[in-house]
Amino acid sequence: MFIINPASSTPIYRQIIEQVKEKVLLGALQPGDKLPSVRELATRITINPNTIQKAYQELERQKIIVTVRGRGTFVAEGYEGKKDAEQMEALREYLRKGIIDALYLGLSKQDIKKLVHQLIEELEARSD
């Protein structure tokens, strides 16, 4: 379910967070779906359990998953984007860096806008 690249410059816990989010957005993970326990996932993908715990905690903080004591971890019901100020700032920074990269590639303002639209449409098409 997860493809981890330990040599990536993105820390492993962030790779897990990103992949869970992507799967939820694409509908591959539905609200109420059970996620593997920390121990199960750690041994399945051979990753430090503390790293997985850290990813789960962050996903929980962002209300994408919920942990029910004694039952396990589930994709949250009715997840809606909540615009947390800190996350908005992080997102802004993330997009800003992407735009800088795009400008260095020689893309025009129009090209970038087109690319963003295209990517959103692709994601929407895949989640249908």
């Binding site: 040599a7 041994t43 430090n48 503390n50 990269d101 260095y104």
Partner: protein, 292 residues
């Protein structure tokens, strides 16, 4: 929490460990890395009390480990070269452990035994390398150690057994909160399972950090400038390593200020590259070598 405080150890005139201090959080997997002869095994032997350090203390949960036989029962050690009686078979070795350790958990032993499925009537000396390592885990994990020290646990093992051993370590940490110290040269493997690490070089700790933090701090970028690399970047102390091909520089940076400097210098090419722990290790070691 394991605290290593100011450990020094010399043999004859040769100072092998020089004032080593490290803190290892409970329940974490700590990688001890460094070139051959850096003092990794000596440090492990000092933690275990196999050799006595000339100076310094080792504290497990704030208690002095070196002079406390009861506390030492909470520590398990799997050395690279196994030291079991060569003529004992698996069943006899298990009996020896059962009689020696109060903490022996028979149920856990039976569970692991089923999982490993080793030839238990074969003499230890006749087992393959992989089977010997698995026997060592089979005997040590039922002790429910609070601290598990592994010296090169996967060296010379085939990929199947290696994967099995790594998963066993991960499972042990997940289910029992065991603190693990692993010394190894296989950084790619360590990168998956450790959350913090210490680099040892010539008997000193040159860097000790959490892997996540390091990944966010150390970056590798490819840049090119119209008029070559500005001197303020080239001579910045946060620059760990630099390679040049034509106008293109591949830089390993440890200081976010450098990214600002690069940005301000208006590079004609700027690209972030992936960096593995191995490359970070080489960059840090390289930089360290230059200082001497």
């Amino acid at each position: 929490m394991l605290k290593i405080e100011n450990i020094s150890k010399g043999f004859n005139q040769h100072q092998v460990l020089k004032d080593i201090s490290l803190e290892i959080e409970a329940g974490s997997i700590f990688a001890l890395v460094g070139p051959n002869g850096a003092g990794k095994t000596t440090l492990i032997r000092a933690i275990m009390g196999i050799i006595f350090p000339d100076q310094g203390r080792v504290l497990l949960d704030d208690e002095d480990l070196l002079n406390d036989a009861q506390l030492k029962e909470k520590v398990a050690y799997i050395p690279e070269a196994h030291h079991f009686y060569p003529n004992f078979n698996g069943l006899q070795l298990a009996q020896l452990f059962r009689m020696t350790y109060k903490s022996w958990d028979e149920a856990r032993y039976q569970e692991l035994k089923k999982e490993f499925n080793l030839p238990e009537k074969k003499k230890f000396k006749h087992l393959s390398k992989g089977m010997k390592t698995q026997t060592a885990f089979l005997l040590n994990l039922p002790l429910h150690p609070e601290l598990l020290i592994l010296d090169e646990p996967t060296s010379g093992l085939d990929p199947m057994v290696r994967k099995k051993i790594l998963n066993l370590i991960v499972d042990e940490v997940a289910s029992n909160g065991t603190t693990v110290i692993i010394s190894s040269h296989n950084l790619l493997e360590l990168e998956r399972i450790c959350d913090s690490f210490g680099i040892l070089s010539q008997g000193k700790v040159v860097l000790s950090q959490r892997v996540d933090n390091l990944k966010e701090e150390v970056q590798k970028v490819q840049v090119a400038f119209e008029d070559g690399l500005p001197a303020e970047i080239g001579q910045h102390p946060g620059l760990l390593s630099m390679e040049q091909v034509g106008k293109v520089y591949t830089l390993v940076l440890q200081d976010p200020e450098l990214l600002d400097l690069i940005n301000k210098a208006k590079p004609v090419l700027f690209e972030k590259l992936d960096i593995s722990m191995e490359e970070i290790f080489m960059s840090v070691m390289g930089g360290y070598g230059n200082d001497q």
